[in-house]
Symmetry: C2
Subunit: 144 residues, 2 copies
């Protein structure tokens, strides 16, 4: 923790403490900076990154988005939108809708996969040899 004198006193934290405050890793934070999701406004004399509490909140926002599996590109877009408070939010809605759709698609794919895997699994009688293993035999036959 570092306290800097200017017109106001601001509590600044180094990257390790920011990581603890938000539950992000230090590498992630540097990565977000490289990807322009998070700015480092100050550096110490020795070139250490210093963050204020607004940045802590910004990173929490990012983390929240990531927990919903939004991509860094999508988060970047949300941040940009957030800076246009007067605009309509249809783009936000569209993004979330499309995300929901992607997730639904993926769930369906995986469910199909699961069904196929279960079917495959039943083709082996547990006490079999490799030569007679129904799983390997099934895998060797191509499907249409």
């Amino acid at each position: 923790m570092v306290t800097i004198e200017s017109s106001i006193k601001v509590r600044l934290v180094k990257i390790g403490e920011l990581a603890k405050l938000t539950g992000c890793s230090v590498q992630s934070i540097r990565h977000y900076e490289k990807e322009k999701l998070l700015a480092t406004l100050r550096r110490s004399d020795g070139n250490f990154r210093l963050y204020d509490s607004a940045t802590v909140d910004q990173l929490k926002f990012i983390k929240h988005c990531r927990s919903l599996d939004l991509s860094l590109a999508e988060i970047r877009q949300l941040i940009a939108l957030n800076q246009q408070p007067g605009m309509g939010c249809e783009d936000v809605n569209r993004m979330i809708d499309s995300h929901i759709e992607q997730v639904a698609l993926r769930i369906n794919e995986l469910q199909d996969l699961q069904d196929k895997l279960m079917a495959l699994r039943t083709s082996c009688a547990s006490q079999s040899t490799v030569k007679e293993c129904g799983i390997l035999q099934t895998l060797s036959v191509s499907r249409k």
Copy 2:
């Protein structure tokens, strides 16, 4: 297509035709070779890869496995097992079981995600501005 004279005549295909026969991309095939899943037994005088029908089958096996989302490492293991016909096939069963479990876990994760996304989506009244968008507001609040 190339026909080579040895003790037997063998029909050999180049990589492009192998790709068509199996539905794999040419790059995938070369990638599988680099990853030791598929051997190139012959080359033309000009160094083109030439494949026989056994290799076509081998690639179909790989493709079938990939359609079940088995990793290349797992497929490599299955191929190795296939070459030990006398052994018990418990390892095969274990691999499929563990795969099924992974897929189930992933489905659950995605379902959780889906629920959160739907809840988030309801927080926006469609005709809103960015400043008042419930989605952005929700994302700005960290959860415990």
